[in-house]
Amino acid sequence: MWIPKDLRFQRALFWFVVFAAAGVTGFLVFMFSGIYNVAASVQHFDVTNRIIKIGLWRSIQTHSGVDDVPALDDPGLVRLGANHYRIGCAPCHGSPAAAGSAVVQRMYPAPPPLTHARDDWSPEDLHWIVANGLKFTGMPAWPGAGRSVEVWPLVAFLEALPEMSPTEYDALLASPASRSAAGLDLGGEDAAGRPLTAMTAGCDACHGAGGADPVDGLVPALAGQKAEYLERALTEYRDDVRQSGFMEPVAHDLDDATIRALALHYAGIDAARGRAGEAVPEAPAAVGNAERGGRIVRFGLPEDRVAPCGSCHGANRSNQFPLIDGLSSAYVVTQLELFREGVRDASPYAAIMANVANHLDDTMMKDVAAYLAALPATTQRPAPALPGAAR
C-alpha cells in the first residue's frame, strides 16, 4: 500500500486496521474452535468472575428503582412472601428449614442462600431481581406478566429472613401439611388419588382455612365464592390467561377434575364461619370513603359512565361473575387496577370488567373497596352443582 511520507496519521490508521483485523480473526478462532469450556463443573477465571459481577451489579443498579416501596415490615406481607418462598424459591435457594436441593447446588453459579440478600441489595434491587430474573444464572423472571407489584411480599420476606429461626419460618407457613415439602406439593397427582384435605392445605396456607381470613389483604377470601367462578379462575391461571406469579405456578399442575373439586370445596364453606370479622387496619391514605363507594356499588355514577357493581356481582347473577361482598380492600383495588391497566383482560369476562374499570379513577376504586370490605361476606348456598360442560 502506498502511503505519503508526510501523512503520519494515515500510517496510524493503517496499523489500527491491521490490529483490528487480527483481533477479530483471533476472536472468531477462539469462538469456533470450542476451546472455551462451558462446563458448570469448571470455575470461571477470577478475572472473568470479577467482570461478570461488575457487569451484573452495574446492570441492576441501572435498571432497578420503583416509585413507591410499601411498608416491608407488614407481617401479612412477610407471611404471604414466606408461603410463596416455600413453593417458588426454597427448592433452589434453601430456607431456614432446609438447604436447597443438592442437585441445584451443582448449578453454576449455584443459587446463593438468601439469608443475607438484604445486606447486598436494596429493596428496590431485590424487587427488580425477583421481578425480572437474571440472564445465564437460572434465576427466572416473575411468572405473572405485568404483575411486578406482586413481588413485594417476597422482598418483605427477604428483609425479615436474616433474623428468622427455623421455628419462626415454620410458623409462618400456615399449613402443617405443607411445612416439610420443599417443592410444589399441590396437584401433579390425580385428584382421586389424594384426600381433599391434603390438596387444600396448600391453598389454605394463603387463603385461610375453613373460612378464616387470608394471610394478607392482597389474597382473596375463597369461602362461599361461586364454584363456577373459582373453577374459571384456576383454569385461567393454569392456562396463562390470567396473570399472577403466585397463582400460576400453583395452578400449573392442576387437572380439570382437581380444579373442580377445589372449586366446589371452597364454594361450600360458609363464609361467615371462622372469619375474624375485623377489617385489617390500613394506612389512612389507602382507605376510601365507604359511603361514596356504596353509592357506586348500588347505583353507579351515570355522569362518569360508571355502571353499578351490584348489577353483575350478586347472588342471583351469572355464576361466572364472582361475589365481591366482604373481599378485602387491598385485593379489590389491586384487581380493579389490573383490569384498568389491561393486565387482566384476556378472557371475555375480564374484557367486560376492563371496560367497566376504565371509567373508574383511583378515588372511586378505593371508595368501592372500602364499602365492599366492610360488608359481611355473602355465601352462595347451597353450592350449585357444576354444569356438565364446563365453559
Binding site: 348489577s311 347473577r317 371496560n355 367497566v356
Partner: protein
Amino acid sequence: MRRNLLPLAAALSLSGCAGVQSALSPSGAEAAEIDPLFWTVTGISAAVTGLVTILVAIAIFGPPAWRARLAGGWIVWGGGIVFPVVVLSGLFVYGLIVLQAGATRAGTAEGPGVTITGKRWWWDVVYTTPDGREFRSANELRLPVGRAVAIRLESDNVIHSFWAPQLAGKLDMIPGRTNVLTLEATEPGASRGQCAEYCGGAHALMSFWVVALPQDQYDDWLEREAADAREPQTAAQARGRELFLENGCGACHTIRGTGAEGVLGPDLTHVGGRLSLAAAALPNSRAAFAAWLVENDHIKPENLMPEYGYLEPDELDTLSAYLESLE
C-alpha cells in the same frame, strides 16, 4: 377513467336526492320552506353561471364589435357591483326570512315536547305523556302529523348535530346547553336522520329514524311506549329475560318492569318495536341483536358497550329472541 366515473358520480348524486334521507323530498313544515330556498338559490346560481359563461365566450370568440362593447366601463359597474349586490342582497333577505321560520314556529309548538341527548354514538330520547309522565326511549323519534313539537337538543359529550333532512335543517347539540328545534311533520311516513357534526370515529354510524304518525295513532303509540315492557310470551323469551338480568345487562340498560334500571345505554323497554338497532347501524332483527352482542366493537368501533363474547350460541339466540319480542 374519467369518462367511466362521470355516470357513476351522476348516479350517486341523483340517488342521494330521492331517498329517505333527502332534503329534496320534504315532509315537514320547515323542510318545506327550505326546499324552495334551495331551488331558488340553485336556479339563480345556474342562471348567473350561464350568463357569465356566455359573456366570457363572447369576449374570447365574438366578433370585434361585440367584444368592443363588452370592454366598456359599464360591465364593471353594472355586472361587477350593482348586479351582485342586488341579487345577493335579495337572496340574503329571503334566506333570513326562511331561517327565522324555526324561531317563530317555536311559539306554535304545543305539548311538552321531546328531549333528545346526543350520546356516544346514539340518541337518548325522552318523551312526556299528556298526563306528565316522563319516559325514555332511544334512537328513534316519533311525531304526530300536523302538530308542531319542540325538540330540545342536548349532548353529554361532544358537539353533535341533529339533522332530519326531510323535516328540517340541522341544529347543533352542544354540551351544557339546550337548543330547541321545532319539528312539524306534514305527512305520515318514516324518514332517516343523521348526526351532521363530526363527533368521533363512529360519527357516520350515528343515525336515527323519524316516524310521523297521524295524531290518533301517535297517541296510541305514546301510551304503549310509556308502558312497561311486554311480558315474555314463550318459555324461550322468559329464559331470555333471565339471561338479560343474570348477565348484568341492567347495569347499563333499562327494561321497565324487569328491575333493570341502568341509564348508561339506550332504554330497551320497547327496543323490538323500533325500525333499527344501534342508532340505525343495523336492521332490527334477531340476527342483528346477536351480532351486536358479540361483535359490537367491530360493527361500531369504540362504542362504549363491552362485547359479550362468552355467550353461547343458544344463549345469544334466546336473549335476542327476548329483545326482539319487546315491542
